[in-house]
C-alpha cells in the first residue's frame, strides 16, 4: 500500500508495508542516510527526527503511523547553510566518530524550540535519551548553550 510522506518539505510516495519503521523508510527506501540506526529499540537516540517539529525516535514510529511532516538532519541545515545548532556544533568541534550527532542535534533542536535558554540541568534532562559512546557530552552542553545564545540574539 502506498503512503505519501512530507519529508524536509518534499512529498515522497512510498510503497512499503505500513509496519516498516520510519527509520528504514528514510535510510533504505529513500536513501536519506543522515538519520542513523543505533539500537532499534528507542534507547540510543541516533535515529531522532522531527514529526511536526517534535523529536521522535524514527525506529519506533511505523510508516502507517506517521502523523505529520517529517524533518531529518538533512532538512535542518546543509554544509553550505547550517542551522544555528549545526554551526555551534562546528564551532565547538563536538563530534568524535560523529555517528550519534544527527540524533543529538535533532533532539537539541526540539529542546531549543521549547526552551530558548536552557540551564545545564535542563539540557541534561532533555538530552539523556541520546547515547554518545565517544563521550562528547561536555561539548554537546557547550554547543547547545552557544547555539541558544546565537538564536536569542538573532531574534532580538
Amino acid at each position: 500500500m502506498a503512503t505519501t510522506l512530507t519529508i524536509n518539505g518534499s512529498d515522497h510516495r512510498i510503497d512499503a508495508p505500513d509496519d516498516t519503521p520510519l527509520l528504514w523508510i528514510l535510510r533504505d527506501e529513500l536513501g536519506m542516510t543522515g538519520t542513523k540506526f543505533g539500537c532499534g529499540v528507542g534507547s540510543c537516540g541516533a535515529c531522532t527526527v522531527h514529526i511536526d517539529g517534535e523529536a521522535m525516535r524514527s525506529c519506533q514510529v511505523a510508516l502507517g503511523d506517521v502523523w505529520g511532516d517529517v524533518t531529518t538532519i538533512e532538512g535542518l541545515g546543509t554544509p553550505d547553510a547550517m542551522h544555528a545548532l549545526q554551526a555551534a556544533w562546528l564551532r565547538n568541534q563536538v563530534a568524535q566518530c560523529g555517528y550519534c550527532q544527527s540524533g543529538q542535534i535533532m533532539q537539541a533542536a526540539d529542546l531549543l524550540s521549547q526552551n530558548p535558554d536552557p540551564t545545564d540541568d535542563e539540557i541534561d534532562a532533555a538530552m539523556s535519551g541520546n547515547l554518545c559512546r565517544c563521550g562528547t557530552y561536555s561539548r554537546i552542553r557547550a554547543a547547545i548553550r552557544d547555539a541558544a545564545t546565537q538564536m536569542r540574539e538573532e531574534v532580538l
Binding site: 542516510t33 540506526f37 538532519i73 541545515g77 566518530c97 560523529g98 559512546r133
Partner: protein, 743 residues
C-alpha cells in the same frame, strides 16, 4: 564512495602522471622501496600519503578514523610541511597496502615498560617495528599509535613533496629552487609569480623526490594549535557516509543470525517463516548461521529473527560461573609471564591481600557491525568500516573463495570502533553472502542484538594481590592475574600466525607502572578457552588500571597516608613525567583542601600507550545515592600536536571508562550472551557525565598516544572516590550492582 574512489574516477587536468616510488622514510628508510599503492588516474601521487589534483591537496591516511581525530592530525602533519591552507586540505583513507604498515604498533607490542625504555631499546624497537610491520603488513589502526607512527612519516612526506614541487617550478621558471618559497598551496618566485601545486604536480611526479628534514617545532604554524577537524562539517550535517551508509545501484540488504552459542555451528534451519515476511527475498546458509536478503534492512532483520535454526552447542563453558571457574583454575598452572620481578620479599610490615574480579565487556560502537560487498567476475569489492584493511582483504577473500589480490577494500568512515573493528568477521560474512548473489551489491547489516551477542569481548579477569606496607610506604606489591590470553586468540585469527609465549596484553597496565616499590612482582596466568576475546579500548590497561590503582589506594589507606601523597612518594623516584601529571591534578582539583561532608575525591594514574594520565574524580552523596560531579584530567603525551582534539580524547576516554565501570558487563547463560542491547549494558548518559577539566603537559621526552590512555584511570579514580565517600571498597565491576548512582 570514498574520496579516494572519487579521485580515481573523476577527470583532472593532469593526465596519466608517472607515479613516484615509496615515500622517503628518513631514518626508517628500508632498503627495498614499497611501491606506491596510489593510482590517482589523472591526478598526481607524489608519494603514498599525498594526492594533488585539480581540486587541491588530499592527504592520504593509512589509518582509520573511528572518532579519535587521527586522520585530521595526520593531515595536519603533512600540511605543516607542505604549506597549504588547512581549510583546503582533504583527507582520504588509503587503500589496503603494506605501504601503510604500522611500525609503532609492532614496537609497542614488545615486552618492557614504556616509561623507562632506554634509547637502545627504542632503537631496537623501531627496527623490529619496521621490519615486522612490513613483513606482517600491519596496516592497523590501534594501540593509540596512529600519530606516533605518522609523526615522522607524514612530515617527511610533506617536506619531500614540497621540495619536489619547488624543483618542478624551478625547471618551469628557470629559477634556482633555493630562490623559491612555498605558501598557501603554491610555489612563489622572487618576482611574485605564483604557481599553484596543481599546475606543477604532473611535472613533479616525474622528479626523484629529494629527502628533506622536517621543520623544527619553532616554525610550526598548524601543529600545536587548536585546529578544526576536517571531518566536522560533514558529521554535523548528516552528510558523512559511514560504512552503513554505503548505497549502490540495485543494492540489497541482508541481515545475519549466527549461532548465539558462539562458534557452535548450524545443524539445520527452516527458512519458510522468513520467506513469508513481505520484502524478504532469500535465505542463505553462510556456514555457522544464516543471512536473510531483503529489500530493506528492516525486512532482513525481521526475516533473520523468523528463521527456525537448529544450533550446535557452545564450544566453551556455558555459564559465567563456569567460565570464571576456568579462569580461577589458571592460577594453579605455572605463570604464562613474569614481566616484573624486582627485589626480594619484604621482611616486615603490614600485609594486605585482595581479590579483584572484572567482567567481560562488549565494544558496542554506535554504528553496528556491517559491510557491503559486490562479487562480480571472480572479484570482490568490499566497503568496510574497519581498523585493518589488509586483514579484511585476506578474510573477505576466504569468505568469497578467491585470492586476496582479487579483493578491493574501501575503508569507510566508521561510527566508533574501540577495537571491535580490528576484527574482520563482518567483512568475511559479507563476502560469504555476496558470493552467493554475484553481480548484486549487498549490504550486510547486523541488528544491535546480533552485534552485542557476537562480539569478541574484553576478557573477564581475576586478580590476586598481596602488598606490604611499612613506615607509611609500600614495601611490596605482588600481583597475579588470570584471564584468557588475547594475543593467542587474535594473532592466529587475523594474521594466520600462532603466537605462544608471554601474553603482554594480559599484564600491561600492571607490570609496567612507574612506582618505585622495592619488591614488585607481576605474573600472568592464561586460561585456555574458546570464548571469543579481543582488544578493547586500552586493552590490558582497561582492567589492570583498575586493579593496580585500586590496590595502590588500598595500600595507601593501610599505610595511613593520603592517597595522593602516597603515590607521589612512590612515583617521583621512578618517573618525573608521571609525577608531573599527579601534581597537575592535585592542583587542578584543589586536592589538599578537604571537601565538605558528603563529598569526596579519588585519584588514579595509569601509564599506557606511551602517555601517563592522572585523573581525580569528585563524588557527592545525594540522599544516599552517588553523583559523579566533577573530573580533572592531566596527561603528558610529550607534544600536544592537536590540542583541541587531544582534550576531547581525554574526556572521551574518561567517559568510556566510566561507562564500563558503572554498567558494563557481559554474562553468559546456557552458552549465550545475556546482554542484547543498550538497556542491558548501557553507556553513561549526559545526565550522569561529570564536568571535566583537562590539562595537557609536554614534558614527556617521547610522543605518546591519546586515543586510549584516558580510559584506564577512570574506573579506579571513581572507585577510590567512592571508597573515600562510603568506606566501601569496590573490588568487582560494574559498580551499579553494588552502589546507587544519580545518573
Amino acid at each position: 564512495m570514498s574520496r579516494l574512489g572519487t579521485i580515481t574516477r573523476r577527470s583532472f587536468l593532469v593526465a596519466s602522471a608517472a607515479i613516484a616510488g615509496g615515500v622517503a622514510f628518513g631514518i626508517y628508510k628500508l632498503r627495498q622501496p614499497i611501491p606506491n599503492p596510489l593510482d590517482p588516474g589523472e591526478g598526481s601521487a607524489l608519494n603514498a600519503f599525498l594526492v594533488i589534483d585539480q581540486d587541491g591537496v588530499t592527504a592520504i591516511s593509512g589509518r582509520a578514523d573511528m572518532g579519535q581525530g587521527a586522520q585530521s592530525t595526520l593531515a595536519m602533519l603533512l600540511a605543516e610541511e607542505l604549506d597549504v591552507d588547512w581549510e583546503s586540505v582533504r583527507v582520504a583513507h588509503g587503500p589496503a597496502s603494506v605501504a601503510y604498515y604500522n611500525a609503532a604498533m609492532m614496537e609497542s607490542a614488545l615486552p618492557g615498560a614504556e616509561y623507562n625504555k632506554s634509547s637502545w631499546m627504542r632503537t631496537v624497537g623501531a627496527f623490529v617495528g619496521n621490519a615486522g610491520g612490513r613483513f606482517l603488513g600491519t596496516q592497523i589502526t590501534g594501540g593509540s599509535t596512529s600519530v606516533r607512527d605518522g609523526f615522522d612519516k607524514m612530515r617527511l612526506a610533506g617536506a619531500s613533496a614540497r621540495e619536489t614541487l619547488k624543483l618542478a617550478a624551478a625547471e618551469r621558471l628557470g629559477v634556482a629552487a633555493d630562490r623559491l618559497r612555498t605558501e598557501a598551496g603554491a610555489v612563489v618566485a622572487p618576482d611574485g609569480t605564483r604557481l599553484p601545486y596543481a599546475e606543477l604536480a604532473e611535472a613533479a611526479a616525474r622528479i626523484e623526490p629529494p629527502q628533506t628534514e622536517p621543520r623544527p617545532r619553532a616554525d610550526w604554524r598548524l601543529l600545536g594549535k587548536d585546529q578544526p577537524r576536517r571531518d566536522m562539517a560533514a558529521k554535523v550535517t548528516g552528510t558523512q557516509a559511514y560504512g552503513i551508509d554505503t548505497r549502490l545501484p540495485g543494492m540489497k540488504f541482508a541481515s545475519l543470525r549466527m549461532n548465539p552459542r558462539l562458534g557452535g555451528g548450524l545443524r539445520g534451519f527452516d527458512p519458510a517463516p522468513a520467506l513469508a515476511i513481505p520484502g524478504v527475498e532469500q535465505v542463505l546458509d553462510i556456514d555457522g548461521g544464516i543471512a536473510v536478503v531483503a529489500r530493506n534492512s528492516w525486512a532482513a532483520m525481521q526475516g533473520a529473527q523468523a528463521v527456525d535454526c537448529d544450533w550446535g552447542p557452545a564450544p566453551y563453558p556455558d555459564t559465567t560461573e563456569a567460565i570464571f571457574a576456568r579462569i580461577e583454575a589458571a592460577f594453579d598452572d605455572s605463570p604464562n609471564s613474569t614481566m616484573r620481578d624486582d627485589g626480594p620479599e619484604a621482611q616486615d610490615g603490614t600485609e594486605i591481600t585482595a581479590e579483584y574480579r572484572l567482567p567481560y565487556l562488549a565494544h558496542a560502537p554506535l554504528e553496528p557491525m556491517n559491510a557491503t560487498a559486490l562479487f562480480e567476475d571472480g572479484r570482490l569489492t568490499l566497503w568496510s568500516p574497519n581498523q585493518a584493511p589488509l586483514v579484511q582483504q585476506r578474510t573477505a577473500a576466504r569468505g568469497a573463495g578467491i585470492e586476496p589480490e582479487q579483493v578491493t577494500v574501501h575503508t569507510t568512515a566508521m561510527g566508533g570502533g574501540f577495537g571491535r573493528r580490528g576484527e574482520s568477521d563482518y567483512s568475511e560474512l559479507a563476502a560469504r553472502v555476496a558470493r552467493q548473489m554475484p553481480g548484486v551489491p549487498v549490504q550486510v547489516i547486523w541488528s544491535r542484538e546480533e552485534d552485542m551477542t557476537h562480539d569478541f569481548y574484553r576478557p573477564g579477569v581475576i586478580a590476586r594481590l598481596r602488598g606490604v606496607v611499612a613506615d607509611g610506604t609500600a614495601k611490596q606489591l605482588d600481583a597475579r592475574i588470570a584471564g584468557q590470553g588475547m594475543t593467542a586468540q587474535v594473532a592466529p585469527r587475523l594474521f594466520d600466525i600462532p603466537v605462544g609465549g608471554p601474553d603482554r596484553a594480559l599484564v600491561e597496565g600492571l607490570f609496567d607502572q612507574p612506582y618505585a616499590i622495592p619488591s614488585y612482582r607481576v605474573r600472568g596466568y592464561t586460561a585456555e578457552m574458546d570464548f571469543p576475546v579481543s582488544f578493547w579500548r586500552s586493552v590490558g590497561a582497561s582492567h589492570n588500571g583498575f586493579i593496580h590503582e585500586s590496590f595502590i589506594d588500598e595500600l595507601a589507606h593501610a599505610a595511613g597516608r593520603d592517597p595522593m601523597e602516597f603515590r607521589l612518594d612512590l612515583v617521583r623516584p621512578e618517573s618525573a613525567v608521571a609525577a608531573g601529571v599527579l601534581e597537575a591534578v592535585r592542583a587542578m582539583s584543589d586536592w589538599d583542601n578537604a571537601r565538605a561532608s558528603g563529598r569526596a575525591l579519588g585519584v588514579a594514574m595509569v601509564w599506557s600507550f606511551g602517555t601517563p594520565v592522572a585523573q581525580v574524580i569528585e563524588v557527592e552523596d545525594q540522599d544516599g545515592a552517588i553523583r559523579i560531579a566533577r573530573a580533572w584530567i592531566a596527561c603528558d603525551p610529550g607534544i600536544a600536536l592537536d590540542p583541541l582534539n587531544l582534550r576531547a580524547q581525554m574526556e572521551g576516554g574518561l567517559i568510556f571508562g566510566l561507562s564500563a565501570a558503572l554498567h558494563g558487563q557481559i554474562t553468559v547463560s546456557d552458552g549465550m550472551v545475556e546482554q542484547w542491547n543498550f538497556p542491558d549494558t548501557d553507556g553513561l548518559r549526559i545526565s550522569g557525565a561529570p564536568r571535566i577539566e583537562v590539562q595537557v603537559l609536554e614534558t614527556n621526552p617521547h610522543l605518546g598516544g591519546v586515543g586510549e590512555p584516558g580510559t584506564p584511570p577512570a574506573a579506579p579514580a571513581l572507585a577510590n572516590a567512592i571508597f573515600a565517600l562510603t568506606g566501601t571498597r569496590a573490588r568487582e565491576l560494574p559498580l551499579d550492582r553494588q552502589f546507587d548512582f544519580v545518573l
